[in-house]
């Protein structure tokens, strides 16, 4: 489907991301945390949002596979392997970006050697490893089953659904259980996490299959498009539920955070990036041309990439309200502020994880018999 100039452009974009990312990694490794913009009052920034974003993509993409296996959905079986590959690549990207977030990267192993299972972060860390291994095992089983993808016993699908929901729920609960932030401390948090994962992950599968898989059936594109339309609407309903409850009377704990999302300094992240470009435009495009590959793929890519805005709008605003009035002026320095915008290093390391994710996907699609993707690279030659 892609011709040589298109491939060259994609390669240049990837190269820019990788080089920029390596600069960021170099900065992180040589200067520690000094070039970062998160601090003591906003301790979680782009990288934590990035982890949630990538894990969401991974869970969402793989959930599609689990459902295909569990319910033996024949028309979608050709999507199983590509979904698993997308899931593995994004999962690894999530682990990379969160590794750089640690103050002591060399102690990551402690999460696995001396875990505290009352901590949702520990649970999520264990589940991320288990999930990654599970994804690899199932992909191996699928690949072993022959040329026809999707021939995996149903039980693998059911177990996958079970782990995916617990994993994604734990990622949401990681924030929702914190009493420190009224915005986070919400029962809808884990549901939002699962809903967001399904939307962003399946949208990414739509983008990957529509744009990269030459042989994919138009009917499958149409089905995926409809699923994404439904999920966009479902996510918007969840969002409306979350935001309207806090905003209706303009009072309550989460009001300040949601108010800043909608009308604060970074209002455009919600209104333009997420709502206009990431929701309404793809919704319109998918309703207009659900079976047209380029349109559907582009729409899926829009939803999947801009979903980072939703993750940022969940992670950052939950930390912008001081514990008490006057704290922001009580003792100030670069690290003790309630304002945040990611630094160059943070963006660059995030770009690195994206570049790694793309490289893994490309390598996987070249080396492994993932549907017709292998022919993508060869097609242009």
């Amino acid at each position: 489907m892609m011709n040589k100039p298109q491939k060259t452009i994609l390669f240049i974009i990837w190269l820019v991301l990788m080089v920029w990312g390596l600069i960021g990694v170099f900065q992180r490794m040589t200067t520690g945390e000094l070039t970062l913009n998160y601090g003591s009052y906003i301790p979680w920034g782009l990288w934590v949002a990035g982890k949630v974003y990538f894990v969401g993509l991974a869970v969402g993409a793989s959930l599609l596979t689990w459902v295909i296996y569990a319910f033996n959905i024949q028309p979608l079986k050709s999507l199983a392997r590509i979904s698993l590959l997308v899931s593995i690549a994004t999962m690894i990207a999530g682990l990379i970006v969160i590794l750089f977030d640690l103050g002591h990267m060399g102690r990551l192993y402690e999460v696995y050697t001396r875990p505290n299972f009352s901590s949702l972060l520990a649970i999520a860390s264990w589940l991320s490893l288990i999930y990654l291994i599970y994804l690899m095992i199932v992909l191996g089983i699928d690949l072993k089953s022959g040329q026809q993808t999707g021939n995996v016993p149903r039980v693998w699908g059911w177990i996958g659904i079970f782990i995916a929901i617990i994993f994604s729920g734990a990622n949401g609960a990681e924030f929702a259980t914190m009493v420190s932030s009224p915005y986070w401390h919400s029962a809808i948090g884990p549901i939002l996490s699962i809903g967001g994962a399904m939307l962003s992950g399946i949208a990414l599968v739509l983008a990957a299959s529509a744009l990269l898989d030459d042989d994919i059936d138009e009917q499958i594109i149409k089905i995926l498009s409809r699923i994404v339309i439904g999920l966009i609407l479902f996510a918007l309903v969840l969002e409306w539920s979350e935001y309207s409850v806090a905003m209706w009377y303009g009072r309550g704990g989460g009001y300040a955070s949601i108010s800043s999302i909608l009308f604060g300094h970074y209002w455009y992240v919600f209104w333009i990036v997420h709502l206009a470009i990431g929701s309404i435009l793809p919704l319109f495009l998918l309703l207009w041309q659900p079976a047209q590959r380029l349109v559907a793929g582009f729409s899926g890519a829009l939803v999947a990439t801009t979903y980072l805005a939703v993750r940022l709008n969940h992670v950052i605003p939950g930390q912008i309200t001081p514990a008490m009035k006057g704290l922001q002026e009580a003792y100030t320095d670069k690290w003790l502020t309630f304002q945040y915008f990611p630094s160059h290093t943070e963006w660059a390391v995030f770009a690195f994880s994206v570049a790694v994710c793309i490289a893994l996907f490309w390598l996987g699609s070249r080396i492994l018999p993932i549907g017709s993707l292998k022919s993508v690279d060869e097609g242009g030659q």
Binding site: G32, E33, L34, L36, G39, S40, Y41, P43, W44, D101, L102, G103, H104, R107, L108, E110, V111, R114, P115, N116, S118, S119, L120, L121, A122, S125, M178, V179, S180, S181, Q319, P322, A323, M324, K325, G326, L327, E329, A330, Y331, D333, K334, W335, L336
Partner: protein, 310 residues
């Protein structure tokens, strides 16, 4: 004034009998002869107290260091001295029988920030790390305006939200009520920092005040003695406590040698009190029993060990 009655300078005769310490006898206006007699008693009591404390301290796993000897001139009957004596009394008890609490009288606080400064100095805190900021809030409308000062150390909650979230058990609540961090285990995920509803945990990002200048001054690379251990921050090394979450420890390293937390001893207005809540006759116990007492964000169920008198 209800509060004034509870200070050691004007304690009831009954409470003197209950405590029976020589300090209290020296705390009222004594005549010369009585003063001399009581001073001798005070010296004797201090000496014997220190002897027993030292012996007990050695036997106690939690306190390796012995209480320091202080000049007798400190026995002036001030609330500060009373708290120190009560601290020594508490140190004689097993750790599990102590319950360290802090009381902050907001009417006495003048917002001078000396507690913040002394805490920074005591713990050699780098940029980004603050254990005891003093948020200042103006109230009222001109001409009836005023300030509310709320010194904010770690609350050492009885139900600390920061402890269960740690993925590697690097932070926990001790038997004496203090919440501490093991810098050698902490991975620097800052989950505890994000989970504290009081913004009382901060993170050490490895910064120095002298960064970007020709030289990082030696005071920045001097060790601090948190948790009675030598922690030296060296630029560019990334060794703990750099990369860790950090928080107020109630100056455990000082407590173990019989000294009050730095913020208590340097409080200009005498607004900060510290002691053992399990001692029914302690100053903090008295203060917590007054109607002015409150705790921050009690509705969260965190049960802070820091009380405010409003």
């Amino acid at each position: 004034m209800e509060m004034e009655k509870s200070t050691p300078l004007s304690r009831s005769p009954n409470s003197k009998k209950e405590d029976g310490s020589a300090f209290e006898l020296a705390s009222v206006n004594l005549k010369r002869r009585k003063f001399l007699k009581n001073s001798l008693l005070a010296v004797g009591s201090l000496g014997s107290m220190n002897y027993f404390l030292e012996r007990d301290a050695l036997a106690d796993d939690e306190q390796k260091a012995a209480p320091l000897q202080f000049p007798e001139s400190l026995a002036d009957g001030s609330s500060l001295e009373r708290m120190r004596v009560e601290l020594l009394q508490a140190l004689k008890k097993p750790v599990a029988e102590r319950k360290w609490v802090m009381v902050i009288d907001q009417k006495k606080c003048v917002g001078c920030d000396s507690c913040t400064v002394s805490c920074n100095s005591e713990n050699n805190l780098p940029p980004g790390v603050v254990y005891r900021p003093v948020p200042k809030q103006d109230v009222g409308r001109f001409p009836n305006v005023s300030w509310i000062f709320t010194p904010k150390p770690c609350m050492h909650c009885d139900q600390p939200p920061c402890v269960p979230v740690c993925p590697v058990k690097a932070t926990w609540k001790q038997e004496d009520g203090t919440v501490i961090i093991d810098y050698d285990i902490c991975i620097g995920c800052r989950n505890c920092v994000a989970s504290c509803p009081y913004n009382s945990r901060t993170a050490d990002f490895g910064d120095f005040f002298g960064r970007g200048t020709p030289e990082i001054m030696s005071y920045e690379t001097r060790p601090n003695y948190e948790y009675s251990k030598d922690w030296t921050r060296k630029p560019g090394t990334g060794t703990s406590p750099i990369g860790n979450a950090r928080k107020c420890t109630f100056c455990l390293h000082r407590i173990r040698v019989g000294m009050l937390p730095a913020c208590v001893t340097t409080c200009l207005g005498g607004a900060t009190y510290f002691g053992d809540y399990n001692n029914n006759h302690s100053l903090v116990h008295e203060l917590i029993g007054t109607p002015r007492v409150k705790r921050l964000k009690e509705e969260l169920g965190t049960k802070p060990s820091v009380y405010y008198l409003v």
